[in-house]
Subunit: 165 residues, 2 copies
DNA sequence: AAGATATGTCAGCCATATTGACATATTTAC
DNA sequence: GTAAATATGTCAATATGGCTGACATATCTT
């Protein structure tokens, strides 16, 4: 029960750092999320982004339009399928991404330093196990570039049955 | 960097379980947060709740009014200071609280099982270290009922300097 | 009695999410 | 080659949950 509340407070403060920066640029959290995943997965398709963020295309549309209009993100048609709009961050987009990630990295790094090297692995595994089973493979895919079977794969192993989600 | 994204996905799914239940009751996340902390700290003052949630009284007002009108939360005047409105969950409120907490507890417990007993401590400490320094004492206070010096206190110790927040 | 404090409430604004309907370009299937 | 499916974009309306500013009330403190 304690962990539930710690997660609430930790996430609240984790989000607060970039929020302050975003406000200077006239952006909100939604812009941050979009920019983040486009930077991390250059050439992302719109449909993939929708699945990652789990929002509707209408919701994405507004923030994406702004990010494109202000030169943070570019679209290019797919080579194999020209219906697809592949998303790339411009230099300006990458710069903002880095600026937003910096305080979050600092916060995470500091907290990790206190937990030692095996601590980091335990914590990573914990987060992965917190993700819904259905999404887990997909998340591994997004984070590790397709190798769902990597060091993070096969999270809970055998005794996962009966607990769902 | 990986942890940043894992935190995003974990929180997203962590929130999704109660969201589905809340929708049946015509409530939103804001109601959940209010109900949660009132249940966890019976007799909470409005001002304390505002500080925990870090929202304005106007934002709180709307959801609190609904929760009171529908019989999930009660107000009683403070004994020493009758201006204060102390908040208590009714039986109905406690029932909903339990119903909302159940899937979250299940998810957390399952993830913790995989990390062993010392894993649980490492993870707790990690979350605590993720909270802004300014808020940390206050959070300990809220979570542990006043003993900021408990097993969770003094998080990062000495080498915390220079990293702020 | 005057001022500070705890709370409540009205009104309006903004960001971000939703649904439903429809438009366009392109690929795939028959 | 036409028809259907797909990827994307966009319009309009609506809901939630934040915000600011202004003001009201009850109660405590001085």
């Amino acid at each position: 029960m304690l962990l539930i509340e710690l997660l609430f407070f930790a996430y609240r403060d984790f989000i607060a750092d970039p929020d302050a920066i975003l406000a200077e640029f006239g952006f909100g959290r939604a812009h941050h999320r979009v920019l983040h995943f486009v930077c991390r997965r250059p050439g992302l398709r719109v449909a993939e982004l929708l699945e990652i963020l789990q929002i509707t295309k209408q919701s994405l549309g507004r923030v994406l339009r702004q990010l494109i209009a202000e030169g943070y993100i570019e679209q290019r048609s797919g080579e194999h399928d020209r219906r697809e709009r592949l998303l790339f961050a411009t230099e300006r987009g990458q710069a903002l991404f880095a600026k937003l990630a910096e305080p979050q990295l600092r916060r995470v790094s500091r907290a990790l330093r206190a937990s030692g090297p095996e601590g980091a692995e335990i914590i990573q595994q914990f987060f992965l196990d917190m993700i819904k089973q259905d999404n887990r493979a997909h998340v591994c895919d997004v984070l590790l570039g397709g190798s769902a079977q990597s060091s993070l794969g096969e999270p809970l192993g055998l005794d996962d049955a009966g607990d769902e989600t």
